[in-house]
């Protein structure tokens, strides 16, 4: 359970597993933070994120895209992510939160965007598995 950073020629990938869909999304988000910064200090306020999409993959894309957006406008690195995913009426919904560490307090490098390239969000046996490539 958790995430690993995986090699990609020019960019970077995150592979994650969790027992729930929400746990998987949070682990992928933590991987995104790790791709930008090796270690983060305590502190920073939590903020909420809500997303909706027509599929689980699309929801994953929307969520990670929203985290990158929040990073640029709040000027914080979103860490310690928590997420809850539900589905109803052909729509997937995510309710999430993150702790925003001010960028001024970390040495972080930029991830430009989430991509669909090789994206996997899938149930494998008794756990949820995800793989996402980020453009650096």
């Amino acid at each position: 359970m958790g995430y690993e950073l995986r090699a990609h020629t020019a960019d970077i990938a995150v592979e994650a597993t969790a027992s729930t869909r929400g746990g998987l999304f949070a682990a992928l988000a933590d991987g995104l933070a790790a791709a930008m910064c090796e270690s983060t200090p305590a502190g920073g306020d939590r903020f909420a994120i809500d997303c909706r999409a027509e599929s689980l993959e699309a929801l994953c894309y929307e969520y990670l895209d929203q985290l990158i957006y929040e990073r640029d406008v709040r000027l914080v690195l979103p860490v310690d992510n928590e997420a809850h995913v539900t589905d109803a009426d052909d729509e997937w919904t995510l309710t999430a939160s993150a702790r925003g560490v001010p960028l001024s307090e970390v040495d972080a490098r930029e991830v430009k965007a989430v991509t669909y390239s090789e994206m996997v969000v899938d149930r494998r046996g008794d756990e949820w598995y995800g793989y996402v490539v980020f453009d650096v």
Partner: protein, 487 residues
């Protein structure tokens, strides 16, 4: 002589020196071509570049062939170093074939300083540039703006920068498209994108973006170098960055909108990151307008960094930037799609030429080339790694026929960022560059230097050699780093 090569089940046939073709088969609409020496082909064949190139041939309207330049490598959806010319009436336009960093590009500034003039000032110069050119994550921009100003930048590009005193008329005349895309439309750029852009106007970002002070080490074509204003031992400045978060958001937004509105086309494609809007559709027009606006934003971004660089040189060398001869040589995009007229089978057709990690390389005589260079060909700037040389080329005579007027954009990576951090230690790379090669590097973190170590890039000399052999870009001058700042 080898006539075929196979990588991961994909067979390439050798057409002639440096030209390899994946023949049309299955779902491919046209063949694919890789322009590479045998050595470069070995690198290109190692990852998923060839599969991505093959996938790209399935985009509707792809004309003649999908191309991979000599510095090509795996991207997402469409390979980096990819060129795809797609019919602008019956085909499509694909944000993934442009890239997230719309108008990521390079510009070169000349100076009238020589390397001797600069020696002894390297540390002060690299420190002052680092202090004055915003870089890294959350480093802000040269100016803090609001949504209204961002919209002006999106619509007017360099004309805005001239009006605000950040650019000159000469800057405008030496920029691709004179720094303003005619089809730009800020209304098609989302509020999210504008919000991301408003505190990043005039910033390098991080990753492979940099500002580098270089010295000209070699001149290969005296007459063209003279037209470009380049001479041996001259100091020049190279700036490499793009449209920052604003451009990234434009791409992300349109990938999703296309997925939602043109799912039928997407389902026929082998990779979601090839998401494309059919030509003549409302969404294609909106993306083209938004992309044009992001292109304008990137030109202004590089212009504001130019402004800061000129101020830094004034401070360090005690003369006005005009007296230091700090004129713009050229600014060229390498993540872009533009509607261009091209001759195909004896007929002139409008094509959306997608260049993702590829540079326009128009030869002498084309009206799109700035008047100052129209007799010699468009300048093409190909950066190498921070430990190797960079090149200035001119668009080659064969480029229109062979590559829809395109060539390579850099050295191209061969090693992942995760592997680079295992193989290199940033501070060691920094010390070695300074002690052994007199290259002064300053970055926001050691990890950035490790990820961008010279050893993670292909041999830029070989990339340029292939470009020259094919006649798509001719080497004019070579430069070598003196100072480098990174985010």
């Amino acid at each position: 002589m080898t006539t075929t090569r196979e990588f991961q089940g994909i067979t390439l046939e050798r057409i002639r020196d440096h030209v390899w073709e994946i023949p049309q088969s299955g779902e491919m609409r046209v063949p694919a071509r890789v322009l590479a020496s045998e050595a470069l082909l070995e690198d290109i064949g190692e990852d998923k570049t060839l599969q991505q190139l093959k996938n790209a041939t399935q985009l509707p309207g792809m004309t003649k062939y999908a191309l991979c330049m000599p510095d090509g490598h795996q991207g997402y959806g469409f390979p980096v170093g990819g060129v795809g010319a797609i019919d602008a009436e019956e085909g499509c336009i694909s944000p993934g074939a442009v890239g997230f960093d719309i108008n990521c590009g390079v510009r070169m500034l000349r100076t009238n300083l020589t390397y001797e003039d600069l020696q002894g000032n390297e540390e002060e110069l690299v420190d002052t540039l680092f202090e004055n050119v915003p870089s890294g994550l959350g480093g802000g921009g040269v100016v803090e703006t609001d949504i209204e100003t961002v919209e002006e930048i999106l619509e007017r590009g360099l004309d805005w920068a001239i009006e605000q005193g950040y650019a000159t008329e000469a800057d405008r005349l030496h920029c691709e498209d004179e720094g303003r895309r005619p089809d730009a439309n800020a209304d098609y750029v989302s509020e999210k994108a504008k919000n991301r852009g408003k505190n990043q106007v005039g910033s390098l970002g991080s990753g492979n973006h940099f500002l580098e002070v270089q010295r000209v080490t070699d001149i290969y074509k005296d007459d063209v170098a003279e037209a470009f204003g380049l001479a041996a031992d001259q100091i020049v400045v190279l700036i490499h960055c793009g449209s920052r978060g604003l451009g990234h958001q434009v791409c992300s937004d349109y990938v999703r909108r296309i997925e939602q509105r043109h799912g039928d086309l997407l389902e026929s494609l082998p990779d979601k990151d090839l998401a494309a809007a059919p030509a003549r559709s409302k969404l294609a027009a909106e993306y083209y307008g938004a992309m044009g606006a992001a292109i304008n934003f990137a030109w202004v971004n590089r212009q504001l960094i130019t402004h800061q660089t000129r101020k830094v040189f004034e401070r360090v060398f005690g003369r006005d930037w005009e007296a230091l001869g700090m004129e713009l040589l050229y600014d060229v995009a390498h993540n872009i799609a533009k509607k261009e007229p091209h001759e195909v089978d004896g007929e002139t057709r409008d094509l959306y030429v997608h260049r993702k990690g590829a540079t326009r390389a128009f030869p002498a005589g084309r009206q799109e080339v700035p008047r100052a260079y129209r007799d010699v060909g468009q300048p093409v700037i190909i950066p190498g790694s921070m430990g190797a040389g960079s090149y200035v080329l001119r668009g080659g005579a064969e480029s229109m026929q062979e590559t829809f007027g395109s060539t390579a954009h850099g050295a191209g990576r061969t090693m992942s960022r995760t592997q680079a951090k295992e193989d290199y230690w940033g501070e060691t790379v920094q010390d070695e560059l300074q002690d052994q090669r007199q290259i002064y590097v300053k970055a926001q973190s050691g990890a950035t230097i490790a990820e961008e170590a010279p050893g993670v890039y292909k041999d830029v000399d070989e990339v340029v050699r292939v470009s020259e052999a094919l006649g798509i870009g001719d080497a004019v001058a070579r430069t070598f780093p003196v100072c480098n700042i990174k985010g």
